[in-house]
Structures are given as C-alpha cells and as structure tokens.
C-alpha cells in the first residue's frame, strides 16, 4: 500500500515597514531588549492601536503577487489568550474578513492572506529553552507589535521536497516585492505545516497534525518528512493519528507534542472595537500594483519568448536571483563580444554556476555576469572546450577574474588542427593497435580508446568532434 502525504503551509512574514503594526515604534533586530516600546505595544492601560497604512499596502502587494482577491473592506479581530508575550491578553489579527482571499503561487493555491501583529519575544532561562522546566522567563517587547502577514495555502503540496521548494519560491517572491527581510534564521519568515497522509488515489483527507518551530528551509523538509514517516508508521501498525500540535526539535530532528495547556485555547474571537475597518480603495490597489516588480508568471512567459526551455524559464522565473543574474549576463552577451551565444546555452551556464555555488545567489559570488557571458562566448566560438570551460568556471568561483585571461595564462585554449594535434593522433593510433584494427573493420564505436588517449594527452583542450574526424581520416574509414 502506498501513502500520499497532504501538506499545507501557514507562513508568517514580518513586514519590513519602518514602524510597528499599531504604533510608531521602530522595527529593529538585535537591539538591546525593550528599547523599542511605547504605551501601545506594551499594552498600557488606556492605549489604543492605530493601523499602519504602509503595512496594509505591503499586504496588498503580497495579495496582488499571489493573485488573490483583495477585499474592499476587511476588519481586525481580537484573538484572546493569556501568555506573557502578549501585552494586551489578545492578539489583533484578522479572522473571518481577511484582507485577501484565494490566489495561487506556482502550483499551490493560496487560501488567504491576512494582517496581524507579532507577539513579543520570550527568553526562557534554564536548560530546556522552553517555558516548561525553565527557572525564569524574560520578555523582550521590541518584537511585540511587528507587522505580520500570514499566508495560508490550500493542502496542495505532496512531498516534503515540494514543500521546501515552494517555500523557497515564496521567499524569493516576497524578497522581490521588497516587503520583508524573509530570513528564516532571524524569524522574519516562519513556517508551520499541516500534515496528513492518505492512501494514494483516495480523495479523503486524513487526520492532520500541525508542525511548529521549523526555522530553516532544511528543517521544514526534515520536519515534514519525519512527521510523514511517523504518521505512516502509526497507520501501518493499525493506530490512529491524533490531531495535535507538534514542536520540531532541530537538534534531534524529532517531534514532540506541545502540552495541551499551550494549545487548548478558545480564542473568543470578536471584532476589534478599537479599530475601524480597513477600506481598500482603487487608488490603494493601483499604488500597490505600481510598486509590483515583474511577477514570476510574467517572467516565465518572457523567458519562453527568448526560447529558453520550459523548465529553465520556470526555474529562473521562480528563482529571481538566477533570473536577474541571467538577464545581466544576457545583456553583456547581446552587447556583443563577437560570439553569438544562444540564450539557452547562457542559461545552462548560469544553472551550472548555481549548482557549483550550492544554490546560493550568484550575484553574491565572485563570478561577474560579464565573466560568465564571456566564458559562454568562448565555448560557443570554440575557443575552449566544454570540459575546459568547467575547469575555468571552478577557478572563477574560487578566485573571480576574467575567463580569457585564465585560458591564456594556463594555455587552455582549444588545440586546433595543426601539427601538434596531428602528431598526438598518430601516437594515439600507434598506442591502440587493436582498436585501430577494429575501426578499420567497420566497428565505429571502437574508436573510444583512441579519442580518449588524445583527450588525456591534451588535457581536454582538443575538440572531441575534430579528433574523431582526424582519427577516421587517418584510418581511412
């Protein structure tokens, strides 16, 4: 029996506005505790929230980028529960009338997008680092009241890898919108996952669990994988999955249930009477739209017109860092270094660079887009072979510099059809008499060892096609 995971994500994004969601305190990261606070974000008696217009605009940009329906009128609710990181005893959030509904990013449908405020940061002193079993806890309200956008997907993801990949896509899209620092380690991007499994081919959903505290892309994948395995294990041994919230421990990679006290809440939502409804005018939508960069879907379309393969177009559109780098290199190539590099072959080199960089942003590497464009030009113009170009790229990644200069200094240029190559081909045939005999006898595929000999001798600088032609000529076939 095969099991199919069903995964939905709830992503919290800290907006990079200048001030907090409901007061004028500056946002900060890493400042001394409790320096960015006021009567509002400390929940002092008599204080009142006022919604941050800029945060609304950022949320509208996100809604537009995720192709959501924007509500002309939405309201804030109070989500009531007691916890020391919550200064008012409630969080101001959106409930049944959110700012954005519906939408899509890549293959994943968006359920809703809403605005809320972040809680303060609790630091538990003691061994466990969690509230239970700690001796003392202290609260830093610098973070309290930071604008948050919560993005909830439909349960459209099917593997832990897909979940991670989609989260990277979301991160990149948000980064492109310039609405957040989207840094998982610093907590400006946080992801919870709802996970269930079902028998492949069935439509009914299994009992889901909620996973929290997966604070890196890797942990999201690992956490979900661990939970899928746990659920499959339970079901295969005839047990049931219990609906609960699980805490991911990055050290051991294990999942432990949160104590029921931490999750058994009746939040007693009701409309926040201290705030007026958020009214989104056409002007606000137009202003948000005007600030939108090119979105992945449109970008993919444009790349297809450049005759990139569908896969590459999609990848570069959804990885704007790769797309941006590619476009800079393409501009250099088009400006003309002589060689006519095709967009697809240049794209292949960008992809090769990304893989050598372990998927880091190439713009932050030592390889200038100009250098990559020139390298691709050398290959297309047969100035170097692909094999040599790979080596040169390795050098560029390590040290930077100009590919032509490296080729020159290391004498890596492709060896042409002159006497040197003729001599090497002759030596290769001599060294492989059996192979030569079989080629003469019509076994074309037996040429391998002879060509291999030449490539070894020339350290890959010879053009494979040319060498083959020369060998066959000399053997008279």
């Amino acid at each position: 029996m095969s099991w199919e995971p069903v995964i939905g994500l709830e992503v919290h994004v800290q907006l990079s506005t200048r001030t907090k969601m409901f007061c004028g305190c500056e946002l900060s990261f890493g400042d001394p505790p409790n320096v960015h606070t006021c009567s509002v974000c400390l929940g002092l008696p008599g204080s009142l929230p006022v919604a941050n217009e800029r945060a609304v605009q950022y949320a509208l940009k996100i809604g537009l980028a995720l192709e959501c329906e924007l509500a002309p009128r939405s309201i804030f609710h109070r989500k009531n529960y007691f916890y020391p990181d919550l200064s008012k005893g409630y969080q101001i959030s959106q409930y049944d009338e959110p700012l954005c509904r519906g939408g899509r990013l890549g293959d994943v449908r968006i359920h809703r997008v809403h605005l809320e405020e972040d809680a303060a940061k609790l630091v538990h002193l003691g061994q466990s680092g969690r509230i239970h079993g700690s001796d003392r806890s202290v609260v830093d309200f610098n973070r309290g009241g930071t604008p948050l956008v919560e993005i909830v997907t439909e349960p459209d993801l099917r593997t832990p890898e897909d979940a991670r990949e989609w989260l990277v896509l979301l991160r990149n899209t948000l980064r492109q919108l310039a609405v957040s620092d989207v840094n998982m380690e610093e907590g400006s991007l946080r992801c919870d996952a709802n996970v269930s499994v079902r028998q492949a081919g069935t439509a009914e959903l299994g009992t889901k669990t909620e996973l929290k505290n997966m604070n890196s892309f890797r942990f999201v994948e690992r956490g979900i994988r661990a939970e899928v395995e746990r659920q499959v294990g339970l079901l295969e041994s005839g047990q049931n999955v219990v609906q609960e919230t699980l805490h991911f421990d990055p050290q051991g990679g294990t999942l432990t249930p949160l104590r029921s006290k931490e999750e058994a809440h009746d939040y007693r939502y009701f409309p926040e009477p201290d705030l007026v409804p958020v009214r989104v005018t056409e002007e606000m939508v137009a202003a948000a739209r005007a600030e939108l960069p090119e979105l992945p879907a449109a970008r993919a379309e444009r790349y297809l017109e450049l005759e990139l393969s569908a896969d590459t177009a999609r990848r570069f559109a959804y990885r704007p860092d790769l797309g941006d780098y590619f476009e800079r290199a393409l501009a250099v190539a088009a400006a003309g270094d002589g060689a006519d590099v095709s967009a697809q072959s240049l794209a292949n080199w960008v992809a090769e660079l990304a893989s050598q960089l372990d998927d880091a942003d190439p713009a932050e590497s030592k390889v200038a887009p100009e250098a990559l464009a020139r390298l691709a030009g050398l290959v297309t113009g047969r100035g170097v072979t692909s094999a040599v170009a790979q080596q040169v790229l390795g050098r560029l990644v390590a040290e930077g510099g100009d590919p032509a200069a490296i080729v020159e200094a290391e004498s890596l240029a492709t060896i042409g059809g002159g006497g040197e190559l003729e001599e090497t081909v002759r030596a290769a045939i001599e060294a492989n008499p059996d192979a030569a005999e079989r080629v003469r006898a019509g076994k074309a595929e037996a040429i391998g060892p002879i060509v291999g000999y030449v490539m070894r001798e020339t350290k890959g600088r010879a053009d494979g096609g040319q060498v083959t032609r020369m060998v066959r000529e000399r053997l008279g076939v």
Partner: protein, 472 residues
C-alpha cells in the same frame, strides 16, 4: 465663599477680566478637595499649576478627572486595586486638550472599579457619598466626579459614560452631565471598560459650563482611529425658548417603564409641560427595541470588558501575586486579589458570551439588537428633534440597598443604556427634587447634535430654575 459659588464659566470670565486670580481660585478648590469628606477624590494635586495664558478659553479654572483618565506621573487606577498607585507615563488626549485650553488638573475622582457600576459602591477604594444625603449613593460609575461638582469640591469635572456612567450620577447628584456622540472625544488614555461604548464627557453645575468644557474635549485624535472631527464649533448655548422643537417621549422608557418612581414621573411630566410652555411640541413615540437595551448592553459591554481587562495579568505593571513560578497560578492569584466582585462577574459573563458555540446566540444577537435600537432612534429623529426621558428611574438610593441584587442595580441604567448602544449624544439636567433629592431630565438627539441639545437644555434649565445648592 462667593468664589466657590461661581460657575466655571463665571469664574473664567472673572479671571479674564482681571477680577479673580487663578492662583486664588486654585487654592480655594485645592483646599476644598483636600478636605473632601465624601471620598470623592482618590488623589488631589498639591503643586500649584502654571498661570494660564491670557487667551486660554478655560482661564485657569481647575477640573477634576475621573480616576480612569491617565495622567502622566499621577495615580490612574480606574479605582481598582489591581492598578493601585499605577502612574502612567503618558496623559489621556482629552486631559491634555483641557489642560492646553487652560484648566489644570485638580485631582482624580473616585468611581466604580473600571467604570462597572451604578452606585460607586464597586470602587476598590470605598464608596462615594452623595452630598445631598450622605447615607445614599451618588450614582455611578462617575460618582466621584458628580459628587465633587455637586458639593463644590471642584468647579467642574470629566467622567466617562458607557451605559449611563455620566448621566446617571449627574442625575443623582443634581448636576449636568453630557454624554457626547461616540467618537466626538478621543478615548486615548481612558482606561477602557467597553471600547465600542465608552465616551468621555463633562459633569458641570450648569449647561453653559458643560458646553464650555465640552468645547475643549472634542476633536479627531490620530491616536484613536475611532475618533472623528466634530463637524462644527461647540457654541455657548443661548436659546431662550423651544419654539419649533419637537420632543418625542418614548413610551418604552417612560409610561411603560417599570420601577419609575412617582416623584420622578411627576417632575418629568412637569418638565414636559414647561417645554410646551416654551413652545415645544411634545408627543409620545415608540422605540420598540429600547426595552431590550439592558439585555444587549449586558452582553456587549462585559464581552469587550473581558478582553480589555485581560492585560491586567501581573506581568508588566500593577499588582502581581507571586505563585512559586507557575505562570497560570500567578495570573489567577493576581486577578483574584486585584479585581472586585462586580468586575469578576462581568469578566465571567463576557468570557461566556464570546466562547465558541455561544458567540452567535449571545454576542452576535446583542449586536443585532444594538443595530435595531439605532434604527429605532433614527426613525424617531425623522419626526422629532429630540427624544426625552427621565435620566434615572429613581432618586439616589441608600448605600447598600442594591449591592446584593445586581439585576436591581442594572435597572438604574434602564433609561440611559439605549443611547450609547446607538452611539448618540444625550444630556442630563436636574429638573427638581423628590423627597429632598434631585431628579433629572434626559434629552437625546442624533449624532453630532450636541449644539442643539445644549441649546434646548439651556432653555429648559433657565425655565426650571433648579437650585443646585446641597443642604448643609
């Protein structure tokens, strides 16, 4: 003594004419307030304020603020033990505006804890006594402000009204109380009871003072997004008659009202006759849902209060009762020790009304009733300029008379609760005595009709000629 007999507006005029030194006025009232025997004050200023600017409209006439108004560095406790000696780092917007208009803060007045009550007996710092009869309550929740003004301990005062907390104590103490349109005055810095109902307003010796103090309180505040700009200047009332004014008398709140005392009814009818003599047309009308006002109010207000009072958890300020490191235990002990019984009752009611599975039946339904009440008023205002009722069904009742019967206590707000539910303004003016105690007349109008309400109240006030001097 003549100095203390001046209304605030008269005192302001004398200050501006150079006939009265603001320091003399301050000292006279400070002495009175410090010698308070009614438990009306919880704090009295001892530092003399700076002299007012020459053109300051309030001309240095000091005012008393209900305890729940935050004043920087001054105890602001909403008369709750959970905020005992809490001194906020900022000042409420309306207090700032009044101070900026030239009136210094004389003191903080006692109230029902978190404004929950109609007799001032729910204060964490003891009940306020009614200056007309010290064995009786002054009404609530702004009982300290009403008693202080009635007893001449302060020239004027501010309070807050959620279901009648300005008008009902004003009525029981024989002073004027105005509950403005919701949003007319900023709520920023007012310790919240029920956010969608709370509204600040003046308690004064006469209607002219009410208009003058109110004129310094209105305005859009960027710190309160539910506040709105008052659409016109607040005028000094001058109307001498009520010609062309149509008064609607809602039967639900008058002839059909239970528990309306005969003396209150007689004075109300006498005032209606007086209004007719002044040229008003008086006719009965219906507010079909008004009778459900109390039911709706006692769901909506406690629901909001249960959430507004969640912040008093012992973590950041106010009382904390330690509990061996257990967080939930600390919360419980702190709140058990810090809140009085009425506050706890309302937190329980409100928590229940909002809980999953009950929301629609209670909170949701109460909101629909609220909408109906607002529609009833809107309908009445198509035919009438104002709706008029007695303010309180009874005169001031004896201390302790209703403390064991919360429902009887809640009935004290029967006539005042519908207006805040509809967000509309209403004034209470004294209209006579019954058994030696003040009775009152309430005038309610459409949103932002305060100028017209004040004019009508002024004309009636002149005709009634109520003698506000309390027996000694």
């Amino acid at each position: 003594m003549t100095l203390l007999a001046l209304t605030a507006a008269q005192a302001a005029e004398q200050v501006r004419a150079g006939e009265l030194a603001p320091a003399e006025l301050w000292e006279a009232y400070r002495e009175r307030a410090a010698a308070d025997e009614l438990n009306a004050f919880l704090w009295v200023a001892d530092e003399a304020p700076a002299s007012p600017a020459d053109d300051a409209p309030l001309a240095g006439v000091p005012f008393a603020a209900k305890d729940l108004f935050c004043v920087r560095g001054v105890p602001s406790q909403a008369a709750s033990r959970i905020l005992e000696d809490y001194r906020p780092p900022y000042t409420a917007t309306v207090v700032e505006q009044i101070v900026a208009a030239g009136a210094p803060v004389l003191g903080k007045t006692n109230q029902d804890e978190f404004a929950m009550g109609s007799s001032n007996e729910n204060s964490g710092f003891g009940p306020v006594l009614n200056p007309w009869d010290r064995s009786r309550v002054p009404g609530g929740s702004s009982g300290g402000s009403a008693a202080a003004v009635a007893a001449g301990l302060a020239p004027w005062a501010i309070g807050t009204d959620t279901g009648g907390s300005i008008r009902q104590p004003a009525a029981l103490c024989g002073v004027v109380g105005l509950k403005p349109t919701y949003g007319a005055c900023s709520r920023y810095g007012m310790i919240a009871f029920a956010s969608s109902l709370d509204q600040a307003g003046p308690l004064t010796r006469d209607v002219t003072d009410a208009a003058l103090l109110f004129s310094a309180m209105v305005g859009k505040d960027h710190c309160d997004s539910t506040s709105v700009a008052f659409p016109e200047a607040v005028r000094r009332p001058r109307a001498e008659d009520l010609r062309g004014i149509r008064l609607g008398v809602p039967e639900e709140l008058t002839s059909e009202a239970e528990g309306l005392e005969p003396g209150v009814r007689e004075n109300f009818e006498a005032t209606l006759r007086l209004a007719e003599e002044l040229g008003a047309e008086v006719e009965p009308t219906r507010l079909p849902h008004a009778a459900h006002g109390l039911s709706a109010y006692y769901l909506i207000a406690p629901a909001e209060a249960s959430s507004n009072l969640a912040r008093y958890d012992g973590v950041r300020y106010g009382l904390r009762v330690e509990a061996d490191g257990d967080l939930v235990d600390m919360y419980s002990r702190t709140r058990a020790a810090g809140f009085g019984p009425e506050v706890k009752r309302r937190i329980m009611l409100g928590t229940y009304a909002l809980s999953a599975g009950y929301y629609d039946a209670y909170y949701g339904r109460a909101q629909r009733v609220r909408t109906k009440i607002a529609e009833d008023f809107a309908g009445a205002f198509e035919r009438f300029d104002f709706v008029v009722t007695p303010t309180s069904p009874t005169v001031a009742f004896p201390l302790g008379a209703r403390t064991d019967d919360p429902l009887a206590m809640y009935l004290a707000d029967y006539c005042t609760v519908p207006m805040p539910l509809a967000g509309i303004p209403a004034i209470s003016i004294p209209n006579g005595l019954s058994e030696g105690l003040p009775t009152s007349f309430q005038i309610a109008g459409p949103a932002f009709s305060e100028n017209r309400i004040l004019d009508a109240a002024y004309a009636l006030e002149q005709a009634i000629g109520f003698d506000g001097s309390v027996p000694r």
